[in-house]
């Protein structure tokens, strides 16, 4: 049998027409399936912290007596330490994490941590929690540096750690990674990368701890640094998958949001102001559980483009820790304010350099450093060799040209433990991580 060109053409044409027509129902089926499986999430109410029953707290002598104490969570001087975070553990202890290495952004920076033993009342030896090499190996990506660890205990007692890593460029090239622990930090999951940006998944950072919603979902305050600088609210399910993301601010000068739930539906976000001119902390509010936020407005205390920490004290009272300076980070202060952020009151200066100015002489720096360290550290730790190592390490980071030195008390993180105590950690001259604990009675006493 011979085949003519015309029948051959028809033979080719027929299947292609059929295929073309078959595309339509398949296309409709595909998108119908997509719509079927695409759910629209409803944000659960904020989980408001209820640190023990107020009546029980009122009868607790420990809480009635003003308490303020400080110590150091980190235990070595050699590394540049920065960006600490802290979480209360189910056993009553604490865990603090920070990044440490030869300098910020160096390849040898690890995420390190230490645990506070409630029985002994001491911080244990610091340990390496996760390294750049581990992150690189597990994620199968080139990782140049790590930074900004953030730790928090979820309502289901899962401990979450978020931290940033950079493959290319500076911090604006960051992506967020997460690990978690279901045994109070004894063992940890493998790192997992969060995909938060469509632009090569770069430029999303984390600095302040997440808040939780009533169903266990996680609200992680994050920020974007590439081209624009603005804050966002990442909403994750209790298992850590991203459900949604909301803009807190816009523009090019607000970052490092800290979110404070005020009620089941409302919350406050305080933002670090990185505007060219020295400025004030910025504030934004949500009344729909984090979905929409008001335009940010400056609030009263000065802030020299440095990190801010805040937490609710209950009944609309908010505690804020920040550098209330126009320049430098040589003073860290605890403030009290109300939910409207109109009435600000200085509670106490938590740490401060010896002079009301940023730069001091090397001699004064050494003397003040040793004095303030020995005032906090355990007496048995104050060996001359140790003090010398401390001074050398701090000078490397705080002094320029061996003449001018500056103190740095920065990057605070403030939490309230279930027993009602407030715990604050911050970078102490980039040489140690300082831990401060206080209670509401002490705050009240300062008024």
């Amino acid at each position: 049998m011979t085949t003519t060109p015309s029948t051959l053409q028809e033979g080719r044409l027929l299947p292609s027409v059929l295929l073309y027509r078959l595309c339509l129902p398949l296309l409709c089926l595909l998108f119908a399936c997509g719509l079927w499986f695409s759910s629209t999430p409803r944000l659960a109410p904020f989980a408001i912290d209820h640190p023990r029953d107020p009546a029980a707290l009122a009868n607790d002598a420990e809480m009635l007596e003003p308490l303020f104490a400080s110590d150091f969570a980190s235990s070595t001087f050699q590394r540049h330490v920065h960006s600490s975070s802290i979480a209360a553990l189910p056993d009553g202890g604490l865990i603090s994490v920070w990044f440490a290495g030869s300098r910020e952004g160096a390849a040898d920076v690890d995420i390190r941590g230490a645990r506070f033993d409630p029985a002994s009342g001491d911080w244990g030896e610091e340990f390496k929690l996760i390294s750049r090499a581990t992150t690189e190996r597990v994620l199968q990506r080139d990782i140049r540096k790590l930074g900004n660890p953030v730790i928090a205990l979820a309502p289901d007692n899962r401990l979450w750690l978020f931290y940033v890593s950079v493959s290319l460029g500076g911090w604006a090239g960051s992506a967020i990674n997460t690990i978690h622990s279901d045994d109070g930090g004894a063992t940890w999951s493998q790192p997992r990368r969060l995909i938060t940006s469509p632009f090569l998944n770069i430029s999303t950072l984390v600095r302040n701890p997440p808040v939780f919603h009533a169903d266990g979902s996680i609200g992680l305050p994050i920020y974007h640094e590439f081209l624009g600088k603005f804050a966002e609210y990442l909403y994750l399910c209790p298992e850590g998958r991203i459900i949604d993301k909301f803009r807190i601010s816009r523009g090019s000068h607000s970052l490092q949001p800290t979110v404070v739930p005020l009620s089941e539906d409302s919350a406050l976000a305080l933002l670090r102001n990185s505007g060219v001119e020295h400025g004030k902390v910025l504030a934004s509010f949500t009344s729909d559980r984090g979905q929409t936020w008001t335009d940010h407005v400056p609030v009263q205390p000065w802030n020299p483009n440095s990190a801010v920490a805040a937490i609710s004290e209950g009944d609309g009272d908010i505690l804020v820790v920040l550098n209330d300076l126009e320049d430098g980070r040589f003073r860290l202060t605890l403030y009290h304010t109300d939910a409207s952020l109109k009435d600000w009151r200085k509670v106490s200066v938590l740490d401060e350099g010896p002079l009301p100015q940023e730069w001091v002489t090397e001699e004064l720096f050494r003397r003040e450093l040793q004095d303030s360290y020995t005032a906090v550290a355990e007496a048995e730790e104050e060996t001359p060799a140790k003090l010398q190592a401390l001074v050398q390490s701090a000078e490397k980071r705080g002094c320029r040209g061996g003449q001018r030195c500056t103190f740095k008390f920065e990057y605070p993180t403030l939490i309230r433990a279930p027993n009602g105590f407030f715990h604050l950690v911050y970078s102490w001259n980039n040489t140690l991580i300082k831990h401060v604990v206080f209670n509401s009675a002490w705050v009240e006493q300062q008024r």
Partner: protein
């Protein structure tokens, strides 16, 4: 379970294959070149394969981009054009528009964040459905196929991302499409006429 780590290796192999000139080579040699590029993607340097390094800097490419690279590689391998220029330009226009909708706003130029639509993409799916119907009606089958396969991949959760956008478009595809459009505009300007453009590739 995602197959993310293979994205980097495939990206590396296809990009290398497409960037190396293959003019004058027999198809068997071109096939050998592709296999060699794929093998090269698994070569380990300092603990990571070249595919891993590619993934570090490009992140996981969109499914559409990978398919587009596969399509282009198929053309190079076979030595002939597999689709007419209408199909190519359909792809360029569709993904240039998607990139324009996504990137400027997501990077902070507006208060709106279109990227968040991809986390709960019912409205986005509805719009893309309409777009696909139009592409089907106008017979832009290559663009239609890319979007449909990407949507199927999103349904099967083959990438680490939870966002539908990450299956549809990425910066490389956006740059390629906008580069093609700018080149077209430049050609129009130089010729001063409305000649039918050649293939986008």
């Amino acid at each position: 379970m995602t197959v993310g780590f293979l994205f980097g290796h495939l990206t590396f192999a296809l990009l290398v294959f497409l960037l190396i000139p293959g003019v004058g080579l027999a198809w068997q040699l071109r096939a050998l070149l592709l296999v060699a590029a794929l093998g090269l993607a698994f070569v380990v340097v300092d603990g990571l394969s070249l595919g891993d390094y590619t993934r570090s800097y490009t992140d996981d490419l969109a499914v559409t981009t990978l398919l587009w690279l596969v399509w282009r590689s198929g053309e190079k391998l076979s030595g002939r054009t597999l689709a007419c220029s209408k199909q190519d330009w359909g792809v360029v226009w569709v993904f240039a528009i998607l990139a324009l909708v996504l990137y400027p706003a997501t990077l902070g130029l507006t208060v709106l964040d279109p990227y968040r639509l991809g986390f709960s993409p019912a409205p986005m799916l509805a719009v893309l459905w309409l777009l696909c119907l139009w592409l089907w009606w106008r017979k832009y089958l290559l663009a239609l196929g890319l979007i449909c396969i990407a949507t199927g991949a999103w349904l099967l959760d083959v990438k680490a991302s939870d966002n539908y956008w990450d299956y549809l478009v990425d910066p490389l595809l956006g740059l390629y499409c906008w580069g093609a459009l700018l080149r077209l505009a430049w050609q129009f300007r130089r010729r001063g006429d409305r000649a039918v453009p050649q293939s986008a590739g």
